[in-house]
């Protein structure tokens, strides 16, 4: 196995090689968004300089070129998650839009009064609120799978949530706070034994491990490009063809129609049925470049290296007196949420900021997780393959300095 060539990788990400407040930038807010490699930045620049043109519409040269690249991107994304057909790859603006699309469209077709939707206690707001909106519209209800003190889902409780009214399961593949990688195969198999489809929210998973939607037999899989080193404003909804065919369109507009008249409008085929309006072709092609970049390094190499970051950061953070890590699953990505005794996380983060260290504070858009532990907020340091062990040392030093100033 090839190890990570960190120096070379860091050179690929121009943003990392800068100083903030005259200190070298330590970027540990990758859970919120990841930085972009040169290949992505240059491709986006190239499109705007050379090929920009709306896809599928014009008969002219540039439009043809752009359409070709846009559709090649769809094929690339299909291959990346091993979907059966590229019509199962729907472009959206991100994970949130993908879940909203599904909650609306699936909800219109399959959810009625009294039905139930299973989610989990560790979901971020994007995988809670769209379902709550649906429940309000349809008078349906949500059932919540709890997690234990380590941050592992209680699978026995999950099993018991199923009734004949259960219509869909929507669960994070990986938690954005606890970092837990959920036992998705088991989750899917249990749901399927009740003939219930499963949506996996892959926002925090796709950048850390190989996804094979056919092997998983998952019904829907969603993720955002900007969390896997691609541009913002583009995301994916993968869905099995049989579901997508039956589901009604969500948003209306150009591109998603075959014929429009005031009497009757017919809808376009998959995937276009769900893609109203001028598509984000720049984002789609940018995402492809990010995926190629990841493949060149090797997702397995990334995973192995990030595991080392996880273990090192766990070991070093635990040495700090009064520091408590929330989320101690054995299956965890390289993210740490923690608090320090009698110190407000916001104070610590403000001091870390001035030391050049970017972390996130707050509830991380997952208030139920905070409620579980009876806290308002935490610090989150999320590490990826361009981070170093030295940076973890700097974080630890920074925390100690903050502790000294604040306690």
């Amino acid at each position: 196995m090839v190890d990570i060539d960190l120096q070379k990788i860091r050179e690929d990400f121009p943003i990392l090689n800068q100083k903030v407040y005259n200190k070298p930038l330590v970027y540990f807010d990758n859970g919120a968004t990841t930085q972009k490699p040169r290949a992505v930045i240059e491709k986006i620049n190239e499109i705007h300089s050379l090929t920009n043109s709306s896809t599928h519409r014009g008969v002219h040269y540039l439009s043809g070129l752009m359409t070709e690249e846009y559709e090649a991107s769809r094929e690339k994304i299909r291959a990346f998650i091993n979907a059966k057909d590229k019509s199962e790859i729907i472009y959206t603006s991100g994970t949130t839009a993908s879940i909203n699309l599904l909650a609306f469209s699936f909800g219109e077709k399959y959810i009625s009064e009294g039905d139930e939707i299973i989610i989990s206690e560790m979901e971020h707001h994007s995988n809670i609120v769209p379902w709550q909106l649906l429940c309000e519209r349809k008078k349906a209800s949500i059932k919540v799978t709890p997690f234990d003190e380590n941050g592992d889902l209680l699978i026995d409780e999950y099993k018991n949530l199923f009734t004949e009214k259960t219509r869909i399961v929507s669960i994070a593949h990986t938690s954005n706070t606890l970092g837990t990688v959920n036992p998705i195969k088991e989750i899917i198999d249990i749901a399927h034994s009740h003939n219930v489809p499963v949506l996996l929210d892959g926002a925090q998973a796709i950048q850390h491990e190989k996804i094979d939607v056919q092997e998983l037999d998952v019904d829907f899989y969603v993720f955002s490009a900007h969390k896997i080193y691609g541009p913002t404003g583009i995301g994916i909804l993968y869905g099995k063809q049989k579901w997508l065919e039956e589901m009604p369109p969500w948003q209306g507009g150009g591109n998603m129609v075959k014929n429009v008249s005031f009497n009757k409008t017919t809808y376009n085929n998959l995937p276009y049925k769900f893609e109203a309006g001028t598509p984000n072709y720049v984002g789609a092609v940018g995402l492809t470049k990010a995926l190629e970049y990841i493949e060149n390094i090797g997702i397995e190499n990334i995973r192995t290296y990030e595991n080392k970051l996880l273990h090192y950061s766990t070991q070093e953070l635990k040495k700090i007196e009064g520091l408590r890590i929330f989320g101690n699953s054995k299956n965890k990505i390289s993210v740490q949420i923690f608090n320090i005794d009698s110190v407000h996380p916001y104070d610590t983060a403000m001091i870390l900021d001035k030391l050049g260290i970017a972390v996130r504070t707050g509830s991380h858009c997952a208030q139920p997780v905070m409620d579980h532990f009876g806290i308002d907020s935490t610090i989150r340091a999320s590490m990826v393959f361009y981070n170093s062990f030295e940076e973890i040392d700097m974080l630890v030093e920074g925390i100690k300095k903050a502790q000294l100033m604040l306690q």
Partner: protein, 142 residues
């Protein structure tokens, strides 16, 4: 001291800090010295909007003079509110409501002014000026 005299003295105090950590240490000290707010004001009603940390603010008025008490659950943020209390406490409401808080720009805490940053100086200052305006208007009408 007048409001502007206090502002000038704060600018002078901050001018000796060349490091962020010194500024923060000063704010932490100031925050720790801030007299606690009466428990009855530690309710949502007295909370300044923001989700990152909590700041409670109360104002009282007597003979045209406005006084403030405040508290925060994060120490640095508490220090920031303490700084504002230091400037505006026991001043004429008629002056506070129209005050130009030029010291904020000059002491290098400008980024805390950003309206998107929760519990920023700006929302605290705005709330304090609003209190002054409200009391002033109420008593003028009488």
């Amino acid at each position: 001291m007048t409001i502007n005299e206090i502002q000038d003295s704060i600018i002078e105090e901050f001018s000796i800090f060349d490091d962020w950590m010194d500024r923060y240490s000063y704010l932490i000290e100031l925050g720790n010295e801030l007299p606690p707010i009466d428990q009855k004001f530690k309710t949502d009603e007295y909370l300044i909007n923001g989700c990152q940390s909590k700041v409670w603010l109360n104002a009282e008025y007597e003979n045209g003079i406005i006084s403030y008490t405040a508290e925060g659950d994060a120490v640095i943020v508490k220090g920031i509110v303490a700084l504002l209390v230091k400037v505006l406490n026991n001043q004429k409401a008629s002056e506070v409501m129209n005050v130009d808080l030029y010291f904020i720009d000059k002491i290098g805490l400008k980024e805390n002014l950003s309206p998107t940053r929760s519990n920023g100086l700006l929302s605290m200052a705005k709330k304090m000026k609003l209190y002054a305006l409200a009391y002033y208007t109420k008593h003028k009408e009488k």
